[in-house]
Symmetry: C2
Subunit: 420 residues, 2 copies
Amino acid sequence: MKPNFSLRLRVFNLNCWGIPYLSKHRTDRVKRLGDFLNRESFDLALLEEVWSEQDFQYLRQKLLPAYPAAHYFRSGIIGSGLCVFSKHPIQEFTQHVFTLNGYPYMIHHGDWFCGKAVGLLVLHLGGLVFNAYVTHLHAEYNRQKDIYLAHRVAQAWELAQFIHHTSKKADVVLLCGDLNLHPKDLGCRLLKEWTGLHDAYLETRDFKGPEEGCTMVPENCYVNRQELEQFPLGIRIDYVLYKAVSGLYISCKTLRTTTGHEPHSGSPLSDHEALMATLCVRHSPPQHNPSPTHERSPLISVLREAWTELDQGMAQGRWWATIAGYVIGLGLLLLTLLCALVAGGEIREVAVLLWTPSVGLVLGAGAFYLFHVQEAKGLCRARAELQHVLGRAREAQDLGSESQSALLLGQQEGDRAEEQ
Amino acid sequence: MKPNFSLRLRVFNLNCWGIPYLSKHRTDRVKRLGDFLNRESFDLALLEEVWSEQDFQYLRQKLLPAYPAAHYFRSGIIGSGLCVFSKHPIQEFTQHVFTLNGYPYMIHHGDWFCGKAVGLLVLHLGGLVFNAYVTHLHAEYNRQKDIYLAHRVAQAWELAQFIHHTSKKADVVLLCGDLNLHPKDLGCRLLKEWTGLHDAYLETRDFKGPEEGCTMVPENCYVNRQELEQFPLGIRIDYVLYKAVSGLYISCKTLRTTTGHEPHSGSPLSDHEALMATLCVRHSPPQHNPSPTHERSPLISVLREAWTELDQGMAQGRWWATIAGYVIGLGLLLLTLLCALVAGGEIREVAVLLWTPSVGLVLGAGAFYLFHVQEAKGLCRARAELQHVLGRAREAQDLGSESQSALLLGQQEGDRAEEQ
């Protein structure tokens, strides 16, 4: 790489709100999105909530000349909704589907059926290995009483772990997507602390868009204003995050966000705002890393917080499994009683009538039990991974700055396994 | 690293057959396994089918002095059954649960409930980054009519992809586990070709164990001899596979396999045989890579074969989903008819009696439909990833050996996206 090396990259991100039959003006919006992406010719366009594969295929055809590479990430029953269009060849891609993603019985929320995931693309640009990730985490339906909080924290952790383990040889890491997390939410802090990713909105000196960088704003005609009652300016839940390896420096030259209206026609492309970032990767002289002691503290504190959240979620999952166990027992008792009544010829019709709900009760409670056992296991798995990282971070802090670098490089063997 | 650097590593692998209440002499075998591992003091012991977390905790306590680090990989409803004991500190760990893993309605096979997975451990040994993977793929119940073939191929692909994407900075890669694949099976060839892993049994000059390296042998008293009718010597489905980066050379000095009897007491530790490998990692001078033209051909041919298998699995998944769709329709019709009969007062009792099976039919077919839609999506995802790799491998072959290295390094941009 030349010393005056510089790579400019224009990135687009949008949650497209593309639910067939439910999202307003979907066909028209997808068409206008295609026109817009063709006009702007970004290096990379990362999209979420493209729930219909037909929409992806339509965009694929339309964008083929300007974006010869594309991929749709399939998962779950409905799909992940994630797709990507790239001006540059995609060298490799894969995906990771989150272990936990809501509850199947919350049909009206629907997240469980989607198979929310993180998609990875490996690009080779200007001799650099470029890992781009696109994701969409579980939605937040009630901020005051968020029953999905533990799941979203577990997803943020899995996302961070996936990036951590798959980007070890990448020169540049980019993550775009709808995190369904406010900037100060636990999941968002956990993700940033564990991966070391920087937030384009906080880093750039040239931002144009709604106040506080909001990506869901009341000005957008598709947004339910009631949902934003507590946030008069809107909320920021869509992100462009990035980092580069030592020896490279990445910065966000400009960040533009739509403001509730599509830049040209005035009508919005989605209920979310689009993010358009111009990133610049440059050669940088090796820098002295700030003492890790100071860097470890926020990691430790956020890991602790996440541990507690996952632990509570686990306890709740086990509680539901226990309740379901009792209901199964009761249902079986009821069924036995009904059988006895039918055999004895007493209130036969009523007994037969009650047969259906009883069988339904036992089967439903059985499924509920199995689901929550699996939920508790999933949360326990995330907690164990997190606990291990916490243990290592604490040791690194305790050992003081002198021997830390050595420990982080794994030269020291004072480690203890993670099991509680 | 010193030029005369050499690292010796003793590795143990065993499918423990630890199904509570079902596996014979489980408690005794776990106890003897603990004694054996303590006596032998391996660097790394990787175990499968430790289904009971109590068994893991028992071993953890027992092995603590000799193996201070340990981890149990939790997943699914029952668990992944995978765990690991290490003499050396575990720097990092994570896991990937396979998207497809049999059918929930095949309760007697049970694989679906297990959450089969691959676990990753990162160790730092002698200044080297050492990625150790442990896995267990879906069982084969009927080799002549294997309804799980597409799932196992998809698992082998996901396993290979997980290793490929998470080991890019590893110096040494080790994979141990019960693949439920014979050496020449499609999944095994796919895994080896895409990851470049070598088979300890085929590589070592010093093997002691059953003929042809079999890991399930008729001599083992726990093995169902009927299942091995077609294979009088037994079958080889458990593996130790490895590779090292350029500049390092890894070889298997010795490979020992139990022979249906535990080495000391004579009674077997499991229905599978244990693998004990002594690996040696040395510094090696940079070698001239053989022309990739010749190396690509087997990859292309195995990718093609796997593509066809996944495609067939996908078609079958969609066919089942369609059938389920018809059954749902019929069930709904039947329910409407029954309601009409009850309302009209005709054959009321029979109608009420038929209500339960009809509701069950609709709900069952609904679940069946959703499951097979998700199955088809999972297979389609694996097929798309595989197709992309196939496309790139073909281009590399077509371009001839001269420009191949450059293409493999991603310098060339003649790539096309993967979508069909």
